[in-house]
């Protein structure tokens, strides 16, 4: 049964649960991630509702503290870090390099289950233990805390190993599984971004793992590794935590950037303005991103000298992102632009990411951060990047590859409509946060001065709008699974490799070896001029129809 799509290559539950097919693993990752997003989002909405009143009105401070911890932990580790790499990356990576699978398929399945176990432990710990430390687990609060941080530490630790294994797998896959003759500089840019992300995952996550273990040991056996009474230093905990967590923010944005690169090129039918610039900027972010962690600690009591070094290095890493933004923008030049939903999300991304990124530069400007540190300005900064940037790219990816994954089209009109809703809701939610931060509203505050109430109310209204638009999206995508029009192998007339196999792809990805004659961004010919090697693969699809 060579022609069966990966979806029909076995329909028992067992055939899914024990699959080693990267596509099925990707789909399962996607479902779990979306679930995490929904849970994390629900807690965000509860928080926003509570913040309608300056002193709250339906929870105690203790509950509120638990909720932002739940929200942060779930969004970061259960949703955002695995979202694009483990779901879309898994599905697309082999397709984009002409491989039959990732290098270690069994390990890949193991990553999925490790993630699942970690996620369950984390959520159970958050809910039952009532962890209230925030997602940063700062000592000594976290090691003295009467509530249980332990299960959460364990859960995040477990998820960390899932991330590391996925990273190892992807790095080896990109190095060793590329189709014969596929050179590095011919790889689709999404592959580069996943590759760079994997490097960070492999090198940063173990430091988090170790830090959490030390914290756990502190908590259980009272070893006091960071206890000032015994000569320890709580600030060192922060160093270790941010050595992981700053690179981790690039884990969250690099894959999104890969999505943007793909969508920009496909929907403007253009080669990237500078392929190499994007590649080097991607690697630059991954590597230099390791040297800026101290910018989270400008007011934490680190030395002025160290702070200065981190401030300067932060400026360097920002350049790479800027270069990418300029390259994407320039790619549109002389293209043939079709305003499909994914491209609209790309535009939203560009606008919001520049804002989010530039406010990153602003908070990296040391004297300014003294005012902003731990206020809603920072909350706004990172939601602009993580929601305005990454979630927007995630939605772009979802629409862009939906036909490839499911073989069906989503309804375009509704897509455009909810993209507008997402953008509007987003602005309404998070622009007020900048202003609140300027006013001096600290984060993780359940009670706040009354003067700040109007902005909070606006933000809450926006959050519900945003949630509504996301629900509509979810609704029509589910609808389209069944009723969407059949997509065909390449509905966007894209040149990228993954579109050169039927939609949905067969279980073994490629029936004939991937032809490399046409590059992934070669739009000099248009579609009418079929590329050699494209034809035979269209046939099975035709028979099916």
């Amino acid at each position: 049964m060579n022609d069966a799509s990966y979806l029909t290559a076995g329909t028992t539950i067992r055939s899914w649960l024990l699959t080693r097919d990267h596509k099925r693993i990707g789909v399962m990752f996607f479902v779990l991630n979306a679930l995490a997003l929904a849970i994390g989002g629900t807690f965000a909405l509860l928080m926003r509702t509570e913040l309608l009143h300056p002193r709250g009105w339906f929870m105690t401070s203790m509950t509120y503290d638990r909720f932002f911890t739940l929200h942060g932990v779930i969004m970061v580790w259960l949703f955002m870090i695995p979202s694009i790499p483990s779901a879309f990356g898994n599905f697309l990576l082999p397709l984009m390099i002409g491989a039959r699978d990732v290098a270690f398929p069994r390990l890949n399945l193991a990553s999925l289950y490790i993630y699942l176990v970690g996620a369950v432990v984390t959520i159970a710990g958050l809910v039952i233990g009532g962890t209230d430390t925030g997602w940063t687990f700062y000592v000594p609060y976290s090691s003295k805390d009467a509530t249980a941080v332990l299960p959460v530490l364990l859960g995040v630790f477990i998820i960390g190993w899932s991330t590391i294994l996925t990273g190892v797998n992807f790095i080896v896959t990109v190095h060793r599984m590329r189709a014969e003759g596929l050179r590095w500089m011919k790889l689709p840019l999404f592959v580069w971004s996943i590759y760079a992300t994997s490097i960070i995952q492999v090198l940063a996550t173990p430091v988090l793992a170790m830090t959490l273990v030390l914290l756990g040991v502190d908590y259980v056996f009272d070893w006091g590794v960071f206890d000032p009474v015994r000569g320890g230093d709580p600030v060192l905990y922060q160093h270790l935590f941010w050595f992981y967590s700053h690179p981790a923010v690039y884990i969250m944005v690099l894959p999104a950037m890969g999505v943007i690169s793909e969508c920009v090129c496909t929907f403007s039918r253009k080669n990237p303005l500078s392929y190499e610039a994007i590649v080097w900027a991607t690697l630059g972010i991954a590597l230099v991103g390791f040297l800026t962690w101290g910018h989270h600690m400008f007011t934490a009591g680190i030395s002025v000298f160290d702070a200065g070094a981190f401030g300067l290095l932060s400026m360097f890493v920002a350049i790479f992102s800027a270069i990418k933004v300029f390259t994407w923008t320039g790619t549109l030049y002389r293209g043939s632009i079709s305003l499909k939903t994914p491209l609209l999300y790309v535009f939203a991304f560009l606008f919001l990411f520049v804002f989010g990124g530039m406010t990153g530069v602003a908070v990296a400007t040391m004297s300014l951060d003294v005012h902003w540190q731990d206020t809603y300005f920072v909350v706004a900064h990172f939601h602009f990047i993580m929601v305005g940037g990454t979630i927007t790219a995630y939605l772009a990816a979802l629409h862009y590859w939906f036909p490839k994954v499911t073989g069906r089209m989503y309804p375009e009109r509704l897509g455009v409509l909810s993209a507008a809703g997402v953008f509007g809701g987003f602005m309404l939610t998070f622009v007020p946060h900048f202003l609140l931060g300027n006013m001096g509203m600290p984060r993780r505050y359940h009670n706040y001065p009354e003067a700040m109430q109007p902005l909070h109310v606006i933000s809450t209204v926006g959050a519900f709008l945003l949630a509504g638009a996301l629900l509509v999206t979810l609704g029509y995508l589910v609808w389209a699974l069944r009723y969407g029009a059949a997509a065909g192998p390449d509905p966007w007339a894209s040149a990228s490799y993954e579109w050169r196999t039927p939609s949905p792809p067969p279980a073994h990805d490629f029936d004939t070896p991937l032809s490399l004659e046409r590059g992934p961004y070669d739009y000099t010919g248009g579609r009418s001029e079929p590329v050699a090697g494209d034809e035979p693969r269209r046939e099975p699809e035709a028979q099916e129809a």
């Binding site: 270790l240 962690w293 680190i302 070094a309």
Partner: protein
């Protein structure tokens, strides 16, 4: 279904190896360096004690990596993996220790 086009399946081919000599020589060098380091630790080198000990350790680890782990004749990607990891540990340790050292 997989094996039809690979005649070598299941029959590992002899691989080019560096030969026992390299291993023996590295081993000897490691022992000598260990002894040197041990002896020097009693030599009251003062502030230089630590750097010297670490330098010797670095040489030893290089020997292990290059010859025991065969980095000498492995693809560049393997070397990059090893070197990057060590580099990042150094960066992590130095940028956090610098903080402690330069606090007022």
């Amino acid at each position: 279904m997989a094996h039809e086009n690979d005649p070598h399946d299941g029959t590992p081919q002899p691989v080019a190896t560096p030969g026992t000599g390299v291993y023996v020589r590295s081993f000897a060098a490691l022992l000598v360096l260990t002894l040197t380091s041990f002896t020097l630790s009693y030599a009251h080198l003062g502030v230089f004690g630590m750097p010297v000990a670490l330098a010797i350790a670095a040489v030893k680890v290089a020997l292990v990596a290059l010859f025991f782990m065969r980095l000498v004749d492995e693809p560049a990607s393997h070397r990059v993996a090893g070197v990057t990891a060590v580099l990042f540990v150094i960066l992590l340790a130095s940028l956090s220790a610098v903080d402690v050292l330069t606090r007022l």
